[in-house]
């Protein structure tokens, strides 16, 4: 494994198609530079994110998981993100019981126009995961 590759950690992102995926696109179009650890999975709505996806990612090899959707009250599907918020908040509190540091998981809201905010979210979360270090012995 090359030196660079060993430095990078595995972060999985679940982004809703309408807001955060668009926000990440806006960040790209604006050339807002970000760490490259994140791999993005597009979902229609943050409400589609089953907490089990997050757990599965963390126990099978991810060092961090980020979920991002539309701001509360601005959901493309009326209230999918409210379901997401309830489930993900619960998950965040449950993770320590599974022996996983809750800081490895973060959920947030980024709209399609907030490219700069997306850059900040990715940078901050990547930094946070790097402080915790790799989760799995490679």
């Amino acid at each position: 494994m090359s030196e660079v590759a060993s430095k990078e950690l595995r972060i999985v992102g679940f982004l809703c198609n309408w807001c955060s995926y668009g926000g990440a696109d806006t960040a790209g179009v604006g050339r807002f530079k970000q760490p490259t650890d994140l791999r993005i999975i597009r979902v229609p709505c943050s409400g589609r994110v089953d907490p089990m996806f997050v757990v599965r990612a963390l126990i099978t090899g991810a060092d961090g998981v980020l979920v991002s959707g539309c701001h509360p009250r601005d959901c493309h599907y009326t209230d999918g993100n409210f379901y997401a918020r309830r489930r993900l908040e619960m998950l965040k509190r449950l993770l320590p019981f599974l022996g996983i540091d809750g800081k490895r998981f973060h959920y947030t809201w980024v709209s399609a126009s907030e490219g700069q905010r997306w850059q900040q979210v990715v940078t901050d979360f990547t930094k946070q995961v790097h402080t915790l270090g790799p989760m799995h012995q490679k």
């Binding site: 090359s2 660079v4 590759a5 990078e8 595995r10 999985v12 198609n17 309408w18 807001c19 995926y21 668009g22 990440a24 696109d25 960040a27 790209g28 179009v29 050339r31 807002f32 530079k33 970000q34 490259t36 791999r39 993005i40 999975i41 597009r42 979902v43 229609p44 709505c45 409400g47 589609r48 994110v49 089953d50 907490p51 996806f53 599965r56 990612a57 099978t60 090899g61 991810a62 539309c70 009250r73 601005d74 959901c75 493309h76 599907y77 009326t78 209230d79 999918g80 379901y83 489930r87 709209s111 399609a112 126009s113 907030e114 850059q119």
Partner: protein, 653 residues
Amino acid sequence: MRVGVFICHCGSNIAGTVDVAKVAEEARKMPGVAYATAYMYTCSEPGQKEITDAIERDKLDRVVVAACSPRMHENTFRRTVMKAGLNRYFFEQANIREHVSWIGLDKELNTKKAIDEVRMAVEKVKRNKPLFSTSFKVNKRVLVLGGGVAGMQAAIDCADGGLEVIMVEKSPSIGGMMARLDKTFPTVDCSICILGPKMVDVAQHDLIKLHAYSEIAEIKGYVGNYQIKIRKKPTYVDWTKCTGCGLCMEKCPTKNAYDHFNFGAAPTRAINIPFPQAIPKKATIDPEFCRQFVKGKCGVCAKVCPTGAINYEMQEEIITEDVGAIITATGYGLMGIENFKEYGAGRYPDVITGIQYERFLNASGPTSGHIIRPSDHEEPKTIVFISCVGSRDKSLGVPYCSNFCCMYIAKQAILTKDHIPDSQSYVFYMDIRSPGKGYDEFTRRAQEEYGAKYIRGRVSRIYPKGKKMVVRGADTLLGTQVEIEADLVVLGNAVVSAEGAAQMAEKLHISYDTHGFYVESHPKLRPVETNTSGVYLAGACQGPKDIPASVGQGSAAAAKVLALFSKDMLESDPAIANVNINTCVGCLKCVKTCPFQAIVEDTLRNGKKVAKVIETVCAGCGVCTSTCPCGAIQLQHFTDNQLLAEVNAICQK
């Protein structure tokens, strides 16, 4: 399974920071990949031909394109694979431009990330199922929200195209902001003279149904089939009887009601018709000021009304309209000036806003077109205009330019000279922004021909001195302090989103930005579409805009609706939820969580209770899928299997 992978260079956009040849080479090693190549511009015609040729030549049955965002070109490539005979859902796009090449500097890391993105897409596409649209009927009626110039243009164009139009306007008359203007730049054309005929067209068009003084209570449904509940606010005047004679307004004893139409430039009566050209020209009672409502007795208007139209007991009314598309033209608002303590706004009556000044200039305004100082009703001789009051000020949360203030201030300076030949106008500006056709010439005319003195700099303080207002500011070109003793100060206050814009967006399920302006589907190429199909934008609800731009957008939105309605049937999005009746245990949790009431209880022939999805109502959010305890309800194209395959592609490599 034979997957074909096509890596796009996108010129140097991707190839500049991603080793595309390496990505293609790695893709070839992925299980199931039969063919992988890198191409200069995959979206170009020869690029698409490359895909169709490869599908035929290498017997591909799945396609992955690694290029820009799927929000950009997913439909392009879906059409491409369809042309080659594949189901359009046998395609996945890996985003290696916006999410990789444009945000990372390190070519090695970018290449690694791009390979991962391709691996995820390959794993997903291998699990994709063919999906087929069903078609449904379109209700060819259109709802236009807002009766400003953008909404009126949209309504007239739609109606001329043969569509039935429902227009909803929240104030008692259509006309919007433009109806309040005296003249328009850069032609100094009379605003109401060019707007009036359009307003009459709206009123008289057989296909346009106008609901004035009404609001949207609820929006249900989807493109082609919306059910709209409209709340008709009580006017306390029976509009079927009111003739607009104005006798009530003349006799009303309450003379201090707030004049919404004139932005409080002068008080009005508690029962009023907003302006002479109002459409509909009907009276409305403002219960906040009307003595009948405040004190419980008066009844003067009811006594004088020759047709007996006054009805103090009137209640709001909810009416339902079914439409197939919605054009949102809800306009803008203006920032309150009370916050500008340094300008004494709100405290000194002679510090007013641009729109109030516009009303003083207007012949149908509160002073019949005579410019006066609100404090003593004298004619002002020295008038100071201040631009960027709030605009381009990050500290106030308005980092953007309000678009048309520079131009209307130049216009008002010109009109001031016309009204009062011995007057002198001063304009404090940050930059003069006049990029439209004939605009720069116009601002020059204000200075050269009409003698307006333009001072580049900000005003620090305004304070009274006798009858005058002292405007103290900087002239940054001369590097000096300036003090002007003005009779009247006009503030070009910032354009903000309309009141209630966010709540409206939530009803429409469209996005809005941090300032409350609605977000278009693509900033360059889809400026009047939203991400919600069937909802279009026109005018300043999307961002500050002047009249020609608003009119242009109104027509553009109408063209989009006409194109949408040119078909009798629309194709549904087949990526909706689907219930596996064998594994469904009939707990019906999905029924409770579905935001669209798209899932109902169904009983099978053997008596088993299961959930059933109503195909046309399901919007494809997938909340049910993550709710179902046994994985029986699956959102097509985003099933647990497909998403977990993507997770595995990253985590278990």
